[in-house]
């Protein structure tokens, strides 16, 4: 049991069988499907010199995609944080007709294939669409502009904040608010001084999850973005463009930038979740 002895230096007496097999299978599967393929990105990039790598990832067209991808993702995550909190609040605290249905549909962006979301949003926000035709007289164009990218990223980020805040809100003891009210706090004070600090870790976790997802998003964005270089081109798309031109090194270099960002976000999200668990005394 090589695997078992390495991972379990203390070797406490163990009744249940199957540890070596289960862990061994997990590690082999994860290595073959995830870790070895992912390492290909870094090994491929290592064939570039530092100068070549830098030239690719800092070329003006690529930098323009970072600005759009990260900027629109930050803004989308912020919008989702505000409205996600209100939606979670309404679902937990108010009774209204159709609540169960709305609660179930919050997860739609997880279940609806991104390509379907992409063409549906484009149909809505195009100049002749239901929403687009209302905005056109005001001089606002959404589809095929950076604003369209924002709309798609808001869509795919909806569930993250709602689903991280909702359980915390449900578990909150009403005694806290009763104490605040009996001590003379008004509702706004109770919210900002009592509730918000408790909800903050969950809000930030939801924000980070929505942001991380938005930066890597591809399917829902490309239909509505118009994909004009320097204007409405996102970073994942430039990887595809480079691949289609057989520029593997270029595609991989940009992928490394995105992967490093993903790892940092994963770390940040883990820290936030640990903080959230500590703050609210619940696990996950």
């Amino acid at each position: 049991m090589g695997v078992a002895t390495f991972f379990n230096p203390t070797r406490q007496t163990r009744v249940l069988p199957g540890f070596g097999l289960a862990l061994g299978y997990t590690l082999v599967y994860l290595s073959l499907i995830v870790l070895i393929p992912l390492s290909a990105v870094f090994i491929k990039t290592a064939t570039l010199s530092w100068g070549e790598f830098w030239a690719i990832i800092s070329s003006p067209r690529v930098v323009a995609t970072y600005k759009l991808s990260f900027g629109a993702s930050l803004l989308a995550a912020a919008i989702n944080t505000v409205f996600g909190l209100m939606l979670a609040w309404a679902l937990v605290r108010y009774s209204f007709p159709g609540k169960r249905l709305i609660d179930a549909l919050v997860d739609l962006p997880f279940a609806l294939p991104t390509a379907v979301a992409g063409i549906a949003l484009t149909a809505l926000y195009a100049g002749n669409g239901w929403i687009g035709s209302l905005l056109a007289p005001l001089g606002i164009k959404v589809a095929f502009t950076p604003l369209g990218v924002l709309v798609a990223l808001v869509f795919i980020g909806v569930p993250f904040v709602v689903r991280t805040v909702q359980p915390i809100l449900e578990d909150l003891e009403t005694e806290l608010e009763e104490a605040a009210a009996s001590l003379g706090a008004n509702r706004l004070q109770t919210f900002t001084k009592v509730l918000l600090p408790t909800l903050l870790p969950a809000l930030l976790t939801g924000f980070a999850l929505a942001f991380a997802r938005a930066v890597g998003e591809y399917g829902s964005v490309i239909f509505i973005a118009g994909n004009i270089p320097m204007v409405s081109e996102i970073t994942p798309l430039i990887i595809i463009t480079k691949l289609e031109q057989y520029d593997y090194a270029g595609a991989t270099a940009v992928a490394v930038v995105m992967l490093v960002f993903s790892f940092l976000m994963l770390l940040a999200i883990n820290l936030l979740q640990a903080w959230s668990a500590k703050r609210t005394g619940r696990n996950r």
Binding site: L105, A111, A120, L121
Partner: protein, 294 residues
């Protein structure tokens, strides 16, 4: 102890609405409710309705022609095939990983849990790219695969690999917290009483985790059938051969064949609705089961 007559249960909003300390004034309530519901309408409900109205814009005949087109049917078959391979693979993986992580103590457990979540934070485009780097014509194994006449990229195996990568975490992340919460006493009792490890799993663990397992499988399946970015990179978009349903939607859309694109998209939207319905049903079932045991 609040001296209120009726005690409302958890999940019932009336326990907040009847308590002066947790209630907002009416206009604040209506403001929040209006903002939240408008957001819901604008970003979730309208796109969903748009899919079906666009699909039926030119009538049922066009709709039926579009979804019975041979290329559309072949995309449905490929999508089902890809899900039928990748979901069971990740189901077995999820159970094995959860068994190791939830039932045993070992070094690096948290790190392993994070690694399992990794595919969620990687852009789908990169998930496709890595398999092109490995198995593409100029990839590490490209020359070897060419000599032996094996096609992975721009063929079905590549689509399956990319889908498996994307859906790795789904079952595992549902099972790990569930099995951790359940502890290991029941299985240990079974083993002490003479059950084999397999019997303990089959008779004790499985009945305890069946809803969580199903939940993970449903979400895994929805993503496997709907994945677009990763599959798009490795597919090559060969009609009737390497087109999954989402890719077929893209091709039709780019050819300005909007009615047909939305018709195929509506099938995927139905899949999403069925997924959400099953998910809600399982949540209701689990909630009720928990209330019954209390």
């Amino acid at each position: 102890m609040a001296a209120v007559g009726i005690v409302y249960g958890r999940g019932d909003a009336r326990r907040y609405e009847t308590n002066p300390a947790t209630r907002e004034t009416d206009w604040v309530k209506w403001l929040i409710l209006t903002a939240a519901l408008s957001f819901f309408l604008l970003f979730l409900l309208m796109p969903l309705i748009a899919v079906f109205t666009e699909a039926l814009r030119k009538g049922w005949l066009t709709y039926l022609t579009a979804i019975t087109d041979p290329d559309a049917l072949s995309s449905v078959r490929l999508t089902l095939l890809v899900a039928a391979i990748s979901v069971p693979l990740n189901l077995v993986f999820g159970v094995a990983a959860a068994w190791a992580i939830a039932k045993f103590e070992f070094r690096g457990k948290r790190f392993l849990t994070t690694l399992i979540d990794l595919p969620f934070s990687v852009s789908p485009v990169i998930a496709g790219l890595i398999f092109v780097l490995l198995f593409g014509a100029h990839g590490w194994f490209g020359a070897w695969l060419f000599e032996h006449d094996i096609k992975i990229i721009f063929a079905v195996p590549g689509i399956v690999l990319a889908t498996v990568f994307i859906t790795v975490p789904f079952v595992a992340r549902e099972l790990i917290p569930l099995m951790e919460a359940q502890g290991r006493e029941e299985e240990e009792a079974a083993v002490v009483l003479g059950a084999s490890g397999f019997q303990a799993f089959w008779r004790v663990t499985l009945p305890n985790i069946k809803w969580g397992l199903l939940y993970g499988v449903i979400l895994c399946n929805a993503r496997a059938m709907g994945e677009f970015g990763a599959v798009s990179v490795v597919s090559g978009h060969i009609r009737g051969q390497t087109n999954t349903m989402p890719l077929h939607v893209e091709i039709l859309y780019n050819e300005y064949n909007f009615a047909a694109a939305f018709a195929v998209a509506s099938l995927l939207a139905l899949l999403a609705l069925v997924t959400l319905a099953l998910k809600t049903f399982i949540e209701w079932k689990v909630e009720r089961g928990m209330r019954d045991t209390v």
